[in-house]
């Protein structure tokens, strides 16, 4: 084999570039990954809340080198006639061109659009749109969750969902008041006005999340499962499995794709791994919220 013959003559870095598959295989056979992790371990994860002061809520999530920044902006909009008692939640994932060598400025890439669709569907089941209503038939909140991928080093779905979830759980909807002529005021002015007169509107409040979904990606490589694959590993995988579970263990989303079929045993193994990872990540989120002086509402029934 050419790879084996060359192995004796080239240094590790060259070997890695020329024969990425052999390089990864040699690690995996030893039960390790190129970055030193065991096969089933996710990368170190961190959650930073409130990084962007112009956003109503924001969260910076790092999973290893993969970085996602979610920012939430809220606007008061007229209620839609077809859904007078509901607000709107809009989710958008943007793969900023600086995040990887294949991303380019301009139209969103396919990967970004897929992520947008998946996360949009997930989050709309987490946030009940009816609680975004301000005055039925008249005004409602439009909540825009924009997620920027800043560094695409694999398992983007996990990082993007966590960033969006962290931002939403730290979100406080401002106080809002609406007078008879339809003028809308938000923030401290609205709070004062509400106390003075009996106006339609609402006090400042935290968003209630119906559950805390956590996504966890595993890759299938030569019959073994690699948790939380990096961008280097992803193209070599035979299949990639992403499972989204909430705190009760219910499966909210599951996707498997790749060149190989995924057996039932693998599915079970992935779900088990996702359950463990979810517990770990939710504890991290809880801690980040406590540090920011907020408690997650979703834990309460």
């Amino acid at each position: 084999m050419a790879a084996a013959a060359a192995a004796g003559q080239v240094d590790a870095d060259t070997f890695r570039r020329l024969y990425p598959d052999d390089y990864l295989r040699k690690f995996v056979e030893q039960g390790l990954r190129p970055d030193g992790r065991p096969l089933a371990a996710a990368r170190p994860t961190s959650i930073g809340l409130g990084a962007v002061s112009t956003a109503d809520a924001s969260a910076l999530v790092k999973v290893g080198s993969t970085t996602a920044l979610a920012g939430v902006k809220c606007e008061v909009v007229p209620a839609l006639p077809e859904a007078p008692d509901a607000g709107r939640l809009a989710v958008q994932v943007e793969m900023a061109p600086l995040c990887s060598a294949t991303a380019r400025p301009g139209r969103p890439s396919e990967a970004a659009q897929v992520l947008t669709e998946q996360l949009g569907a997930l989050l709309s089941s987490v946030v009940d749109a009816r609680q975004l209503c301000i005055d039925a038939g008249k005004a409602a909140w439009a909540v825009y969750v924009d997620i920027y991928v800043l560094d695409a080093d694999g398992s983007l779905h996990d990082a993007c969902l966590l960033a969006a979830l962290a931002a939403l759980s730290s979100l406080r909807l401002r106080a809002v008041s609406i007078d008879e002529s339809g003028r809308v005021q938000t923030g401290a002015a609205a709070q004062q006005q509400q106390q003075g007169e009996q106006l339609a509107g609402q006090q400042e409040r935290q968003l209630a999340l119906s559950c805390l979904p956590v996504s966890s990606t595993c890759g299938l490589y030569r019959g073994r499962l690699l948790a939380d694959p990096t961008a280097e590993e992803e193209p070599l995988l035979e299949a990639q499995v992403t499972a989204v579970l909430d705190e009760s263990g219910a499966v909210l989303g599951f996707s498997a794709g790749g060149t190989a079929a995924v057996s039932q045993a693998v599915v079970v193994q992935c779900l088990e791994a996702a359950k463990m990872r979810g517990k770990e990540v939710r504890a991290m989120l809880q801690q980040a919220l406590q540090q920011a002086g907020l408690a997650a509402d979703a834990a309460a029934p």
Binding site: S53, T54, K73, Q92, C99, A188, A231
Partner: protein, 253 residues
């Protein structure tokens, strides 16, 4: 909040955020922040936060045509939540202008002949716009180019000066820039004191302009010292890592 607009920007020698007129905000610079990029940098001047990734030099896109020299292609985007009013996803004319200005600020400092026919892509994302975005982006982009190992004649540092309420303010915030009578942004190659970009807004008398330029040049020199320190620290860390790696390999052998 409405009252704040009428209040003066300056009270007995200090600005709203407590700074003196010729003082920078808290500056934080860092390189090597994006694992996938050839070079990258992050710059934070209090509420102005900018991330830059450099890819290449790599093959030019077909649509730009042939060029004997190397090319720098700049794309600046503001995150939708970077401004008080929510922005849009597509590129606005302001962002296009910022991109063009940034490209000229960097081209003069880069040795374009060192990568003929290829393009270095400089992607800038403004995470939060708190004032002086062009200057912060130019400083960060030059650091990212250096981090990518692209040959440069000198680093580029840039800073803004606003004239408001009769005083010259270094490194203005959004509030200060919104109420300036005149302003300028200067990009400088500090070692050789050569200007790569000067953008001026509003009316200046020649004596005022001279004074403002001196202030900006002083600011650029301050940033230069910091930027060089950041590059040196990064290089020292990389050298230590390489040494450790070599030692480990020697031990294994």
């Amino acid at each position: 909040m409405a009252g704040l607009e009428q209040q003066p920007l300056l009270t007995d020698g200090h600005r709203r955020d407590g700074r003196a007129y010729e003082e920078f905000r808290n500056v934080f610079l860092n390189t090597g922040v994006i694992s996938q990029a050839s070079g990258s940098a992050y710059a934070e001047f209090n509420n102005t936060k900018v991330m830059v990734g450099v890819y290449g030099p790599r093959q030019s896109e077909r649509k730009v045509g042939y060029s004997e020299q190397g090319r720098i292609s700049v794309d600046v985007k503001l995150a939708t939540f970077a401004t008080r009013q929510r922005g849009v996803f597509g590129q606005t004319p302001e962002e296009r202008e910022l991109s063009a200005l940034l490209a000229t600020a960097l081209e003069a400092a880069t040795n374009l002949a060192s990568f003929p026919k290829a393009t270095a892509d400089v992607y800038v994302l403004v995470l939060e716009a708190g004032g002086a975005e062009l200057a912060v982006a130019a400083t960060a982009a030059a650091l990212a180019l250096a981090d990518a190992g692209i040959e440069m004649f000198d680093l580029v540092t840039a800073c803004s000066v606003s004239r408001a309420e009769g005083a010259l303010l270094l490194d203005p915030t959004t509030d200060e820039a919104a109420r300036e009578e005149a302003g300028l942004t200067l990009a400088l190659m500090p070692a050789c004191s050569e200007v790569t970009q000067l953008v001026s807004r509003g009316p200046w008398s020649s004596s005022q302009l001279r004074e403002a330029l001196e202030l900006a040049m002083g600011g650029c020199a301050q940033l230069d010292a910091l930027a060089r320190q950041v590059l040196k620290t990064a290089a020292a860390e990389a050298a230590t890592r390489r040494q450790q790696e070599a030692q480990r390999q020697a031990q294994q052998a």
